[in-house]
Symmetry: D2
Subunit: 431 residues, 4 copies
């Protein structure tokens, strides 16, 4: 299966040189963790089980409203994208599922798409609908909204698009749909906040009504962009209200880049867990607005604090399985490299959170020993768990150093010959 895209041989060769040093590091870390009462092999098993989905659209070079600077060998269709996703998974062994984006990835033959993916060791995560841009074939424009549009015909079109996403998802084995809309307003007065939200909920109810019993529907909030004065689902409060109106299969999706400056995101995660509405994540990082930088590249401690909540909930909350997805825009890097590194950073945060001495932490919390509570988190965070992650990868057939192995594989150059250069265009996202 590996031979389709990268070749296990290449990975093995790249690992050869690094393995001795890794074994040494793993052993030293094992001894150190043992002194803290932690079994490194148990941690390694946790790492091996961890998975995060990659977005098909993330395999292309992203852009801004100013420009898009295409890379070489960008995928031109969903099959190319799956090849790239397979490569990511082969090197990292942490990304066995792909999130599709319709209509960008709309398959003519869903069954064939499913087979193509399966042959590459891939399955499908949440389906993502798109009513924030106009497809060439659609009747009504989304310029002034989609699911919350004032015109029922536009809303109906947007609902039907979502239903089509569910149909495709059923065919390829997905179990969830993520609904993010660009609806909102650019001017005070442009939109009646209450009526727009009522229309949104009504439209979502029409989608929810067709949701299979074993599916989940994710509502996703975003403070701004593409609407710049208001958005219909502006924050977790509105997302919670929407998911609650819809019913028990509706949950909230937290995209780390969609909040007001300074927001304590880990606390939002805790609230949604407590009220049984956390659906999952779109992982990325950001310094200013919603800029979709690589997960863990700007504020890795925040990512760790999010996983602190998740690991805490794993032990307390029955049947706790939030979706893990990456959603980033790779404007200046090779998307495959960014996705490999991001998957690793997310896994790293998870491992670090697993190392937290929770009994001690609870004790400090009960005694209001703020300093030692903080120190307890930091002690886990500053543990360099790379030897665990690398060993887990190695033992699953992945690469000790994914980026180096990928670079030496020559994958990008190989696929570039089959994939014509895409245009710079006016910037923005690529379908």
């Amino acid at each position: 299966m590996d031979s389709f895209v990268t070749g296990a041989d290449g990975i093995a060769r790249s690992n050869e040189k690094a393995e001795a040093a890794l074994r040494e590091s793993y052993e030293a870390l094992g001894a150190s963790l043992a002194r803290r009462g932690i079994d490194i092999d148990a941690m390694k098993r946790k790492a091996a089980e961890f998975a995060v989905a990659v977005p098909s659209w993330g395999t292309g070079t992203g852009g801004t409203r100013f420009a898009r600077f295409p890379g070489t060998g960008e995928p031109r269709d969903i099959f190319h994208k799956l090849d790239d996703c397979a490569a990511i998974n082969q090197f990292t062994r942490a990304t066995p599922r792909v999130a599709l984006h319709i209509p960008w990835d709309k398959p003519q033959d869903p069954a064939a798409l499913k087979s193509y993916a399966e042959e590459r060791g891939l399955g499908f995560d949440a389906m993502n609908s798109n009513t924030f841009s106009d497809a060439a074939t659609q009747q009504h424009t989304y310029k002034f909204g989609s699911l919350s549009h004032t015109d029922p015909a536009v809303r109906r079109q947007a609902v039907e698009h979502n239903l089509e996403c569910i149909e495709i998802g059923k065919a390829v084995g997905s179990k969830a749909i993520s609904i993010w809309i660009g609806d909102g307003s650019n001017f005070p007065g442009q939109s009646h906040f209450t009526r727009a939200f009522e229309r949104y909920i009504d439209s979502c109810k029409a989608i929810y009504a067709e949701l299979p019993d074993d599916w989940r529907l994710f509502t996703e909030h975003k403070m701004y962009e593409p609407a710049f004065y208001s958005t219909v689902i502006q924050d977790w409060g509105s997302s919670y209200l929407a998911a609650t109106e819809l019913g028990p299969k509706a949950f909230c999706l937290v995209d780390l880049g969609h909040h007001a400056p300074n927001t304590n995101i880990e606390m939002i995660v805790a609230r949604l867990i407590q009220f049984k509405k956390l659906g999952g994540f779109h992982f990325n990082d950001s310094k200013y607005g919603d800029d979709d930088l690589d997960a863990g590249s700007i504020n890795p401690y925040q990512l760790f604090l999010v996983f602190n909540e998740l690991v805490d909930a794993e032990a307390r909350v029955p049947d706790f399985h939030p979706a893990h997805m990456i959603d980033q825009s790779h404007n200046v890097t090779d998307p495959i490299e960014s996705l490999m590194v991001s998957a690793t950073e997310i896994e790293r945060a998870y491992l670090q959170a697993l190392l937290i001495d929770r009994a001690a932490l609870e004790g400090y919390q009960d005694e209001n020993d703020a300093l030692m509570a903080s120190e307890t988190l930091k002690a886990a965070y500053r543990t360099d768990v790379e030897p665990i992650l690398a060993t887990a990868r190695l033992e699953k057939g992945g690469a000790i150093h994914p980026v180096a192995a990928y670079r030496s594989s020559g994958y990008r150059a190989k696929v570039a010959s089959d994939r014509p250069l895409s245009g710079a265009g006016g910037g923005g996202l690529v379908g």
Copy 2:
């Protein structure tokens, strides 16, 4: 009644000089509004009916953690404060109710306090409990929280303090209690978000259980301060969850200064109205953090947009009576002047919002005519309604120019002789 504090004569004298010009302005504005189909006298009646409560604690000079610079003639007890509040109401005729803060204003004889207020034309608005600082007499410290403290004894103490506030409130004629707590954490890990929120809700339930049937309980969110990493009720989402857990008499209070940067506050107001949980407001303004500047002094258009939502709801929502309260810190001005001006700015925003051509606005919203929707709001906003406000004041016995009339009344100098100078202290709030 006026003679207690300022004297109606002084107001009348100050009005004499200004009245002719006011009549002229009122007439010109009336003609202009008539051309827009608006009856200025109807607007004047609306202005006359408008009221916003003043906070007893706002009559003292505020401070920061760095310093407090006391003014002359600051009130030293609740009777002084009521005198000041009466003065504010006499000049503005817009602030007939006072919000008390316990223990700062704790009366030895509530009935006497009520009479004292009534003699000055004042009633009482929401009661405000204080579990964010330690009173000299209390057994347990609130250093690590109050209603959400890990120690049940502390929580019990905080609950009982709130119950005492209700008792006092019943005696003085209040119908609501505002619960704002300083609980939170300064370090990641210090507090378990979920358990702290559970404890908070449990404590509030104990208070709610004793709430009279005709009372409302207000939960108030704040992003930070005095806790600087997390707060228990950090945003409207948590406030909504708390109020919903408590029951139909619990509502959310929106303090304009308690949000993340860039937050669209008017949208939060709309959401809380829609889901029947808007309790009311703490009005103020701010440029950076929660700094409690005078309402309308920094971003008056935002205040107008909040009232746009309220006026819109007045027509749509049955039994819609959110509480209007000012909550500010007057560090560099005479608090009486700031409260008079703030009350006027709030009333101004209300009047401007009343002038919005709602039928036209709805039409533009339905047609997605963003520009004309925006222009419709701006046309109302840029109307100078001061002649309406001033005439309403004049006809109710208030001052055409409240600040000028107050200054010429010599009130501050008069009371200063009875009130010893307070200390600069280490800064902060004053009880």
Copy 3:
């Protein structure tokens, strides 16, 4: 001259119905201002003299990285754009100059372009270079920067592009060049801050060396976008340093939308005036990130406070002539309407700032009478100066109600027949 695009007849007809009411309002306002010691006719003359440049690129519908939703009748070349700019000026009589953007507006025959503009009553403002996207013909990509690129060949290409802009500008009668670059980084470590800034300054020196003596060069700061971790000119401090390194013909351009949340922009304006480096403005408004909403649509008081600084400086600073330009993105409105309204809002803020009683203000400032200082600004701000603006327009041949007159002129429908629909593209800006 008017007949080229809109027809003075249409404007006259649209004014007929509104003129009587305007005269009445003007008279009433004149009486009211006279009571404040202000001569309304003098104000009207100031309004008539006021001008703000419109950006050629602003006449097209803007977009985001997600999508662009084109309007009908969008300009397809610089001649169309000039037609639209002429229409804006005809209705508002406040926008006699156009800012060009090269290569989007690159003329084959600059002299012909100049004549075309002059025939429509238009001149040219600052030239704008573009090294933030790749033109089809250029040799090197700007993916990793332009004037600050690590590769001297790329820097040279970017310098030469700017020199070409100056050449074109000389031919069409411009007197300034605005340099805004997208250079920066998306990841910590990607760029060496100091070396990048050194390279930027070196490149600008090469441009500055060719700047005609009677030209100005504007450096423009922006906190983020398209670079999302760092930008080379991230704030006014770096812009000031760059302009100072370059010399006396270099000045800083303040775009209102390019700052960190909560920034006190009017204070930056004051600092740049004080240190003789204020070059001018890109006017717009924003609620969150840099979203280029219409000037005055979100926080009009802030716009007024900026003009408070400018009017204050007019009286104090010799030879004070900052450039006034609009720079916005019109995603959901007709760009012509947004530009007309924005020009009017900017002029409104200027007029309101002229009404400030500066002698009184200075007195309050000297006495630290914070409340009356604030009230003095607000008294000017809340004056509805629309009758002055409208009368100034009327007397110069413009429209009393520009948007209404424009709509009834049928201009957009007329030009739409000559202009094919542009594509939705991947979003973003349009050339």
Copy 4:
């Protein structure tokens, strides 16, 4: 010398149990670093040389404007504070200097103070003046400003206070004065930005004129608080202008908590280094406004990125010695513990920055390999350097685990018996 406060015996005893494990960790880390070409002993020497000053005022429990919750055994005078600072230094061996705050720490006999400090192994860092609160003895109030006040008498008083600080500093062996003022405004219009800045610079020139030749003067910017609409030195741009006006002995101080949301602080550091005006740091951390949390407790990667700039400059910039000072508010922890941990976190960030492979980083920067540049920083950052820090402490006589050793020393209980409990007061800072 140790016997004064804590006793070296206690430290030795606490180290005994931990030493074996530390030796093991150090050896393992040494092997791992050796594989990366890094000599761990050289790193340990760097750690041993590192020092950061502690603020005398940080030894007391801080507060907010709402409340201050005093701890037990708080220092009541400067001698107590020096005892606490000595303890911090004994355990950490990284804080040999103390920053004084006048008038809070004003010595009656500076020579005696110096001796007292020297006996405890302490010297003095920058002097800190206080013109943001009123001392009991001063003639004029700073309610409306100090160095920038409109009244020359107030400015003179503030200048003289600063001169007195220099005099005291000379007597105790300080070589720098930090000037931070609370001057600013709470209302638009209250202050004339330009005149206030001119007055500030004039006042500073009077101080600068008396500055000894081997001293440095630090200007410190802050976005807001205690002034909430504008501050006189609002950002690094104004700080740079002020320092430049003053002369070559004036430098800018960067307090990590004094910036707008989202600000790229490490870039400001780079700019100030480049233009030779970086004076030093006030280290702390924050999540929202200026809240002075413990350094490294909220965003440790940002602290690392700041030190990345410093380590980079060490190699490039001759005579590069920025001042390192902690400036925090310890509201819920034992101040001694917070200061020990903070000193360690700052040292940790320095050590991690030393581990950056700078040759590789420069190569990636030159090639625009954004991903590998980012990975290069992260590889250094995720190295757990605690064994180096602990060994350096151990070898200098400090504690392997400072907090644990301090707690078992019983220091706080010991001093509590000599120090009466301080009052809760109205909140805020403590002198």
